[in-house]
Amino acid sequence: MYSKKVRFSLFLLLGFLSTSLQAQDATEIIRKMDEKARGLSSTSEITMTIVRPTWQRSISMKAWSKGTEYSLILITAPARDEGTAFLKRENEIWNWVPNIGRTLKLPPSMMMQSWMGSDFTNDDLVRESSVVVDYTHEMVGDSVIDGYDCYKIKMIPTPDAPVVWGYVTVWVSKKEHIQMRTEFYDEDGYLVNIMQSFDIRKFDDRMLPSRMEMVPVEDPGNKTVLEYKSLRFNQEISSGFFSIQNMRRIK
């Protein structure tokens, strides 16, 4: 869990300067999209619902983030997990287990795994990888999604990027730079997941989707829904906030 504003992490790469002007434009659009959804810092309340054909389960959390380096997540429901917290500082992750009063350090190998059984991975939530830094970007067209004029951008992971996808296609609205739709392809070029954004509304000073759905293509009836109850940006949060001490105490 870890993370925050859970926007989907696609990743990217500043270091890989592309020579084509078009690619620079594409990178710039992705950078704007990422910055908008991330802010310098954010505070949010999120409910994630795992939907399967015969059942569903929800988990609610409060999340704080600062840049890509720091995040803190507190589970607020269900009752069984209430008070459990996760802290990420750069590459390190800790888990607070309140009933036994214990801080666990989680192994990096847990990062790429499914997060609490959802269609998101830990990395999606913590965003260890970056849509800007860990991918190269190519403008491949335009289309309209839910009435929003969008750029269609193909993102290919850089060779060393900690990314499981072969490539990712993103539709970004031209006006507001909202990530409207994302398709995740495996290394053989098969479509694996589709993420869509819904219910765009104003959070603080910016328009963003208040609901996002991740749908695994091969599993009809399955999806994971993220709903933002609140989302605030650029409030002052010191990096000292992201401490083991605060993880134990945060409410």
């Binding site: 036994i100 009063g101 350090k105 190998s109 059984g117 001490q245």
Partner: protein, 394 residues
Amino acid sequence: MRKTATHNTPFGFKPSAPWKATVLLLLIPFSSYSQKFDSRGYLKELGGLSISNNLKTIRYDNIIHHRQETTLEFSNYFEIRFDLRNRLLNGYTVENTPGYADFLDEDPGFVDGSFILIDSDKSILHTQIDRLHLSYFRDNWEFHLGRERINWGKSLVWNPNDLFNAYAYLDFDYEERPSTDAAYLRYSWSYASSFEAGYRFGKTLDESVIALMLRNSLGEYDIQLIGGNYFEEIALGFGWSGYLKDAGFNGEISYFHPKENFPENSGSLTASTGINYMFSNAIYLTSEILYNGGYDKSVNALTQLAQPPTASDLFIAETGYFVSASYPVSPLTNMNLGLLGSFDKAFFILIPQLSYSVSENIDLLVLAQLLKGDLFSEITETPNVLFFRFKWSY
């Protein structure tokens, strides 16, 4: 509105001005802060079948277990935590173990917070104050006073650094683990750095634990140094948790030296270390080994396995190993297989378990503890136990 506050009461008592001032002063910290009250808990039904190796003897035990956890924040700085653990026990062990209620009623704390409410041939109702402490938080300081858990462990199964409240791994139904009656101070100065000091109350120094801890980070490692008075011994220890490539790597070492005849008596070393790793197919592997230098042969193995151990003697042998693999079959179902054993003694304990999320707040657990080896079959007729547990959390 009641008038007694501003008029003579039936007893002729009229609050004087100083009295009112005192009440006002007391109310200020409360009224300026909306008090927060949090109440939660769970109800568990645990059934246990104890089975002999030839399957001819089967015994049943049942525990209905209720836990109530209450937190009251009554200012920005103060908080009270109060947890009650209530258990209604029935079945073979209750009916066939003389003195079982007295055994349950033993409270290792400084204050007796254990109460037997029903003690009949068929049933025992046991209530225990499991946590009850006042906490004070301010800036980088924390202070806790009362019955609390002070968790210094880094390892999963065996915790030589856990000087205050070591726990029994096999007592899986005590999810919160034991607490201790203590005063505890913590000062933190960076994200993973702190100085901590604890005093577990005792009538004499030899019945007390007074220990200090220094925590810090070193690269991607969290490290801790501990030391102090551990009952009749002096304890010094070191613990760490960090990463070996993508795996988690942690461990604890403690050295215990008797205070009596300090130079002549020799001390003992207890150490555990473990590695955990999650594979790309989501199988999560945990492993741990133990050197139990303070091993005391005289203690009954079953008693020791189910009871909170001491930090200097954590197991029923001089060495121990633990491996476990867990796999999420689905988001609702998790399977786990654990193996606990010793390098120097011929026994092992197999612990298969399956957990299933029945609904948002109801969980089912099926777990077995299969005790294999002469060590166990000599002291119990039924060394195989199969548990079923429903848990409703609220």
